[in-house]
Each structure stands twice: as C-alpha cells, then as structure tokens.
Subunit: 109 residues, 2 copies
Amino acid sequence: MGASKLDIYTDQIIEIAAFAKVFAHPARVAILQYISKQENCICNDIVDEIGLAQATISQHLKVINEAGLLKGNFEGKSVCYCLNTIRFKEFQDAFNSYFNTTQTNCCSI
Amino acid sequence: MGASKLDIYTDQIIEIAAFAKVFAHPARVAILQYISKQENCICNDIVDEIGLAQATISQHLKVINEAGLLKGNFEGKSVCYCLNTIRFKEFQDAFNSYFNTTQTNCCSI
DNA sequence: TCGTAATATTGCAATATTACGATATGAAAT
DNA sequence: ATTTCATATCGTAATATTGCAATATTACGA
C-alpha cells in the first residue's frame, strides 16, 4: 500500500498529524520563518532566500496556504503573503495540548 | 527528484522538520498517546488498539525509537516500551521555541 | 532442547512527496 | 495592445513512505 488508513484514528490524532505534516519538510519550516520576518514577502524573495526553484517554493506555499497559515494579498504583481498568526497559534495550542496530555510515565526505568 | 535538499537549511530548521516528521503520521501520534497511558505496553497491545498489522506497528515504533522517544525494557518476551518523557519535553520545547520566534506579523491585512 | 509467544526484519507493491523545467495566468507598465 | 514581471499550474522523474505477508529472531517455559 502506501496510503494512510485515516478511518481508524480519532479526529484529534488526525489533526495533529496533519499539522505536523506542514512542518515535516525543512523548506516549509524555513518559508514560515522567513515570511514572519519580512515586511513584504513575495515569492521571488523566498526563492532567493531558500535556494529552491520557483515552482518548488510555490508548491510548498500551497501546502502552507491550504493549512490556513497564510493571509494577505494574493492578487496582482505584488503579492504579499503573511503569516496568519491566529491560525499559527492554533497549531501551537494543538501541539501543546497533545504534548501535555501525553506525558504520563508508564514505567520507571 | 524527490529527496530533500538538506544542505541549504540551518540546523534548527532541520531539527524542527525531523521532529515534526515523527508526528506527521496518525499511527505514530496514536501510538505515542497509547504508550503514555499504559502500565505495560507491549507491541501486541498496540496492534490490537491501533488496527494495523504487527509489521506496520513495529515499523512505526522503530521511527519513534530512532527519534529517541522510547525507553524501557527492550529485551525478552515481555518488552515494556515507555515514553521517554525527557526527550518528549525536548520536542515540545523545540516546537514552542520555533513557534514563539515566528509570530511577528509582516502586514496588517 | 523444542516449541511457543512476542517482536523485528525483509521484500515488495501501492501511493505520496519532492523537485524542477516548461508553460500558463494575471496584473501592471509601456 | 503588447510586453514584462511575479506567481501558479502541469507534467514528469526521482525518491520516500506506508502497509502487509512472510520470515527471522529472541527469550521463556515445558
């Protein structure tokens, strides 16, 4: 096979995995970090910064956008991609919620 | 292609991506959650709980273990896998550190 | 020692991801 | 209107991941 069996997991677990997937590639981690630092973030800047082809960056941006992590002006020549900080905080909260409820020790070795 | 270009990223970014990859599959998220709840966690219990084949679970456990997230008794018939809470906390701290330094807003749309 | 129970490894098929060149699109400038 | 610039999409090749059956390993008990 190769496809994930999604029907056997709870919604919370699927959400965490989906969130983690966004960060599971260094290009996307780097892109998010870069976007948060810039006043005006257009794709070509990111291309120069990260060192991947424009098509590849655009593809990663799509993944980030589909996760709801972008906002801004998507039209015209001077696109301004920005981090959706509210959504970003949702990610952080979901991770922390998962981490904080998954720390019980089961044995003392 | 298909392989990641790792040489163009900082160590922090590669670490975050590697950490996220562990959680990027619902089976591993579920396994970690399950392990943390049990007194004695042996693989067969997990197989029954998660609903994947024993070989598949074992494979996911290997990924989790290679990330340093397991500890316990790995020998004999009655293995006891436990969550390495110290390492787990390292993951949480790395994520939070990344999240907290990546929240600056770049435009006000 | 032999069998058994529990877990790991191997090999393979199906699918997903990553990367990039080529091309399309869309808005602004000329 | 045409060109230009910035970004998106398409097509495709390379690689990675997921899942499982079959088999190997390993420790314990009879």
